[in-house]
């Protein structure tokens, strides 16, 4: 034994620290229930400089009252904080950095605050540990980024402190479990305090404090796409996806990214796909938020099961009324869970399809643009081959055969698809020689360019020009020409080797709409099962209640 070991070891320092913090809190709030006007003092009492703090805020619900309260704390007392949270969505998240209270952040997504965050990073006001995927950040909560204090949001609490999250459970279970079982403190803002909860989503003994927020927590209706805005090009690309990929591979289990491109596919299922005789053969099982644009397909009997990352504003009554499809509690309301749904999307789906802002000649795709640090959310987990997967399915095996050729050991591959128009708005080309992500990485001192989906995971690209099947490409040159071959009139597309592209088309690596038996003239909005938000309400039998900003009647 050395001298240093002679003092008795302490094995419960985290627990002691928690006890000290709770003792300090006692002078502010006697019980678990904190009066709203004492919350700033309470935060000052339980948070210490240097703490890792999670302000629950994913891309949907936000612990907004607690975030506003944290901004009111004394910066000389609460400083040097390390934010570890899914999303930097609220202005207050960035205000905390500007006030000098936060020195480091680890997060997944910062869409709404991307420009402010980029400026702070360039001015050395903040250090970014890393931009994670949701699942990756949750994983680190249980390894080296465990929160000391978690500020979360729930629908209601009872007097013991049990929490009901309602359909928007989202990140709460992952955050609370990591914090509560590693000596941390959990503070929940709730919309209501009730005598009896409809169900318990978070048990009281994992929660230290509850505060009733003066206004209900904010939820962003992020997954609502108005069918009125879907273009005929998106209809065409949806037809290509359904006939050229979903039918071809027999895709039953899948995840759709957010956007009008995938909303178009959802609205073509009860019409175009049904006419092709695909009902029951494709798109039966989903990892997906309750997209309003999926309502017509559900009503048509296309869909058997949907597990959701979060909920969607206005879909509460509809999901509750379709318990065979959605995951619904004994109380009759949906339960979401971001961590489980991300795992489901990664391991149990055969296809991911989403959209992006830029694709390079290797097939790397990124939503990073100059001056904006936006992050990823869940797309990299959805859009990556699950190398730990050990169960087979026809679609997965076929993709594996196409991609790996005749190797001795049978192995499948996930289909990872990007569906993009060759030009975005204002004639920005989607296809580029070099991703903006490289420049962003340089200016923000990032070790990795923020690539959303790596070329090695991408299996197909759909544009208005057709499908490029990257699995079948045997050399980097073929891959490059396959990408150029669907890149339209962008500089990348115009620089194609026309003969090589024709050769790829002969081999079925590039397939034009006409090769798939798709007549472009059929690509009209008449094919959409709903052409307005109002049509969606009608399709739901009045159960869908769209938020105000989507109502024009």
């Amino acid at each position: 034994m050395t001298a240093a070991d002679s003092s008795p070891k302490s094995w419960n320092r985290l627990e002691c620290s928690r006890a000290e913090r709770l003792l300090r809190a006692q002078s502010i709030s006697r019980g678990r229930l904190v009066p709203p006007d004492k919350i700033v003092q309470l935060l000052e009492a339980v948070i210490e400089p240097g703490d890792r703090v999670c302000i629950e805020g994913n891309n949907q619900k936000q612990a907004d009252f607690l975030a506003r309260s944290l901004v009111k704390t004394d910066p000389s007392r609460l400083r040097d904080l390390h934010l570890v949270q899914s999303v930097l969505a609220l202005p207050e998240h960035i205000d905390l950095i500007e006030r000098g209270q936060v020195s480091r952040i680890d997060f997944s997504f910062s869409g709404p605050q991307a420009a402010r965050l980029a400026r702070l990073v360039e001015n050395n006001k903040i250090t970014i540990g890393a931009i994670h995927t949701y699942l990756e950040l949750f994983a680190r909560y249980f390894v080296d980024l465990t929160p000391r204090v978690a500020l979360i949001a729930a629908q209601a609490a009872d007097h013991e402190g049990n929490l009901y999250t309602g359909p928007n459970t989202e990140d709460s279970p992952a955050i609370v479990e990591a914090t509560a079982f590693k000596g941390g403190i959990v503070i929940a803002q709730v919309n209501q305090i009730v005598d009896k909860l409809p169900r318990v989503d978070i048990p009281a003994d994992w929660v230290n404090f509850v505060v009733k927020a003066p206004t209900p927590h904010y939820i962003e209706p992020l997954f609502t796409r108005d069918p009125a805005q879907i273009t005929e090009i998106q209809v065409l690309m949806g037809m290509i996806a359904i006939k050229g990929l979903y039918a071809e591979y027999g895709i039953t289990r899948l995840n759709h990214g957010i956007g009008f491109d995938t909303a178009a596919i959802e609205l073509l299922l009860p019409t175009y796909a049904a006419d092709l005789g695909l009902k029951g053969k494709i798109c039966t099982h989903w990892a997906l938020n309750p997209h309003p644009t999926l309502i017509p397909a559900i009503e048509a009997g296309f869909v058997q099961s949907v597990h959701s990352f979060g909920s969607e504003v206005g879909m509460e009554r509809y999901t509750a009324a379709r318990p065979d499809i959605f995951f619904v509690g004994a109380d009759g309301s949906m339960r979401s869970n971001r961590a489980f749904s991300q795992a489901a999307g990664h391991y149990a789906c055969d296809l991911f399809i989403g959209s992006t802002l830029q694709i390079d000649l290797q097939g790397n795709s990124s939503t990073a643009t100059k001056g904006r640090i936006a992050g990823f959310g869940g797309a990299p987990n959805m859009g990556a081959d699950a190398r730990g997967r050990r169960h087979a399915s026809p679609a997965w095996l076929r993709a594996g055969r196409e991609g790996r050729g005749n190797i001795a050991m049978p192995r499948g591959q996930k289909l990872v698809v990007q569906t993009v128009e060759t030009f975005r708005e204002h004639m920005h080309p989607t296809f580029v020689e070099r991703l903006d992500a490289w420049e962003l990485a340089e200016t923000a001192n990032m070790e990795l360019p923020p690539v959303m989906i790596y070329g090695e995971d991408m299996t197909h690209i759909i544009t208005e020009e057709g499908i490029a099947n990257l699995l079948l490409c045997r050399t980097p040159e073929e891959r490059e020409q396959a990408i150029r071959g669907v890149a339209g009139y962008t500089p990348v597309g115009m620089a194609r080797d026309a003969r090589m592209v024709e050769n790829l088309r002969d081999r079925g690596i590039i397939r034009r709409p006409e090769d798939l038996g798709i007549r472009k003239r059929d690509a009209t909005r008449d094919l959409l099962a709903a052409r307005s938000i109002r049509d969606l309400v009608h399709a739901s039998g009045g159960l869908y209640e769209p938020p105000k900003q989507f109502r024009n009647w």
Binding site: T231, E232, I233, L236, E421, T422, F423, M427, T463, E464, G488, Y489, M494, K520, R521, A523
Partner: protein, 105 residues
Amino acid sequence: MEKFTLKLPSPAASQEIKSSGICGVVSSGNLEILVESTSNKESCTVVVNTSAHGFRDIWEAVLHDFALRHSAGGLGFTINDAGATPAVVSLRLDQAFEICCDEAK
């Protein structure tokens, strides 16, 4: 506004479409295309009126490919564009062409 006219070689349209006047119109949002028959059966004429400057190369490539793809000789197209993408222009041209030829049947 930018305005230019292109005359592109294209095989004569196979159907005897209406001898004169407008034989088809497609429009929506940011693009309108009028199709008329012309006397020159060896080429197709396209008049482009566009609100966007500096994309003439792309227009020429899109229209060149269109004239290769279809037998559009003897057809005159007038395009009024308010910022449509090449994808939309190609799709609409194809639709306008198909409408004219179908109506002649």
